[in-house]
Symmetry: C2
Subunit: 381 residues, 2 copies
């Protein structure tokens, strides 16, 4: 199911191949986020052209709109959105704890009110797995309790206990044919909680393991710490997925810490605000600085936007609210995220990952605005 | 410059070929509207795939944003927006009279305040031709006086006199290399005014003739009447362009009345409201009626949207405000507009236009909402 192809001698980084019922996924992999059955502003052809291997969809959002009945009639999520390639679906745990209003945690799930119309809903291990079975995703995520990083130690312990119990319930539910199921490790930055959770989930024997609770507003150092506390407890022969992260440089650092899979709304979200990712950090294309700049967003970038348009033109489009502007920034940013993964796989195969990491992270100047904006961004997943 | 290839024996319809410095344009032709250097929501590849031959750009909007300096530095409009194929630019006359606030008509143009920031601007024959020269469009439009259809007879006469005088001034301005210039016939539905204007412009010897003042809020019958009053006075060996029109069935009726060229914001505008054009009229894809409809927007349609997505999926996207929804409706609607032109050219070549016209117009059920919405739509050009 997961083949380990290369292990970096100087870090925890590894290259692998995850086999799903809809084909192999080369890791490290970035999964563009299609929360509502669409990667914002992009079409399937663009996604394929930029090298997308697997998309992310969301149980919470899709079960509210368009609703399970329509997805069932459509023949599942792949057919509904015309994406015949692998899809991973998040369980809705994160959304129930971040988006939903007035929630009540019960033994077998969470009662909450929809963030849209306030209607009373219930989501637990049984429901989340049932929805993901109907969606027919290639990888389903277990339903977890995802507390804010400001939670008390007692709350975090309770969340871990609940996450473990619910993971066991998820494991017992029927799944779609060939569907893999990943557990989600919680526990914040507490070594005992992370270790306990990781070991307990490993005993349940999932097909992969996610590191959860790492995109809920904590500083960057805590993100790394949470991953470092978790990774040693996870089986080497299973993929590890860091949920909702991060900037390009953070992803390189996380791969160096043993992470294989990523999803993040940043590339498409900041695009809609007129910001482009580059290998040197983000630039505000919408800003006046580029209005006479007739170079592409990034020299040597092979994305459709950079092959066809200048910064000056894209700046104009963003400035006059033309949709093509945010479309093209979404193309460029998503392409860069995927391209960084391609390069990491190549360097892992060639044994040159350490030099790549040093070079990439050294050149990348993080933008505080993006880092602080990240919290809001992830909440909207 | 304009080659007349077929003349329908039963109507005024004709098939032709307009030679521009950037290649031939087969007529009847529909020109997607790229007011601000972008056809709303579409990229150049999509436009080419759906068979776009020539785009429309706008002097008024482009001279305000990004401004002439930047367009000049970019090397003209084609290079700025990466569209190496023909472009026709409107002169800004229509916008000055419909969009601008507080205008003062002077001998050599109009002083007005920008609809954006209220800054004082001046546009006349000299300025409009100068801007279009810098834009480097393949076809420039003369600067005209475009009164509302509610104007008094005296106002309409004055507008026609001014339009003729300004047309003469436009004719004398320098133009970009190979740039064609079209005159715009005004005169509402007054036979004398239309005749006078058409004859006077013809004497000035333009490369083509537009029928203006036909998308400023008048009923459908008046549109046809304005065209019928103008067309007999125009030279047969020059292309005729009906500005800002119309629905698919209206375009067929206008071709039957001797029109060769069209532009209209309807296909992309109604798309953004969740409405799709079909050969039977418009449908509100966003409406609940299609939420379980797993057919494409139109059977047998070859556009990217219909080859890839169902009404149910597109309805979901529109319903949850995913950009891909309005993108795909923009693709479908624009494709249909272009396809109707392809079919008219084929039927004109085969001598079967009369039957096509009867069939097409008979099947098309106009939607009042679209017809009445048209006024607003055109104003935003």
């Amino acid at each position: 199911m997961f083949e380990l192809l290369n292990q970096d001698p100087a870090s925890r980084a590894r290259r692998g191949r995850l086999l799903t019922s809809r084909g192999a996924v080369e890791t490290p992999v970035f999964m563009p986020v299609g929360t509502q059955a669409s990667v914002k502003a992009l079409d399937p052809r663009e996604l394929l052209e930029m090298g997308t291997q697997i998309l992310l969809g969301n149980t919470y959002h899709l079960s509210i709109r368009p609703g399970l009945e329509i997805l069932q009639e459509a023949g599942g999520l792949h057919r509904f959105m015309n994406w015949p390639h692998p899809i991973l679906t998040d369980s809705g745990g994160f959304q129930v704890f971040s988006l939903a209003k007035i929630r009540k945690i019960k033994a077998h799930g969470v009662e909450f009110r929809s963030h849209l119309d306030g209607s009373l809903l219930f989501l637990g291990p049984k429901e989340a797995m049932e929805i993901q079975r109907v969606l027919g995703s290639d990888i389903a995520m277990a339903f977890d309790d995802c507390p804010p990083h400001t939670a008390t130690p007692r709350e975090k312990r309770a969340a871990v206990d609940r996450t473990i119990r619910w993971a066991g319930e998820c494991r017992e539910q029927p799944r779609a044919e060939g569907q893999l199921v990943f557990g989600i490790v919680q526990g914040g930055t507490d070594p005992d909680l992370r270790g306990d959770c990781a070991r307990a989930l490993t005993e349940l024997g999932f097909d992969g393991y996610a590191i959860g609770g790492v995109s809920v507003g904590e500083p960057e150092a805590e993100i790394y710490r949470a991953v470092e506390l978790t990774e040693p407890h996870l089986p080497r022969d299973r993929p590890r997925y860091a949920m909702g992260l991060g900037t390009p440089a953070q992803m390189v650092e996380l791969v160096a810490r043993g992470v294989d899979m990523f999803d993040c709304v940043l590339p498409t979200r900041v695009a809609r605000n007129g910001t482009a990712f580059t290998r040197k950090g983000t630039i505000s294309v919408k800003g006046g600085a580029y209005k006479r700049d007739f170079r592409p967003i990034e020299d040597d970038c092979e994305c459709y936007a950079c092959r066809n348009f200048t910064r000056a033109y894209l700046r104009h489009l963003l400035n006059v609210n033309e949709i093509l502007g945010l479309r093209m920034l979404s193309v460029h940013n998503s392409h860069l995220y995927l391209q960084v993964m391609v390069e990491m796989r190549e360097h892992l195969a060639a044994g040159t990952f350490a030099a790549f990491r040093e070079d990439f992270v050294g050149n990348y100047v993080p933008t505080q605005r993006v880092l602080t904006g990240r919290v809001q961004v992830e909440r909207e997943r």
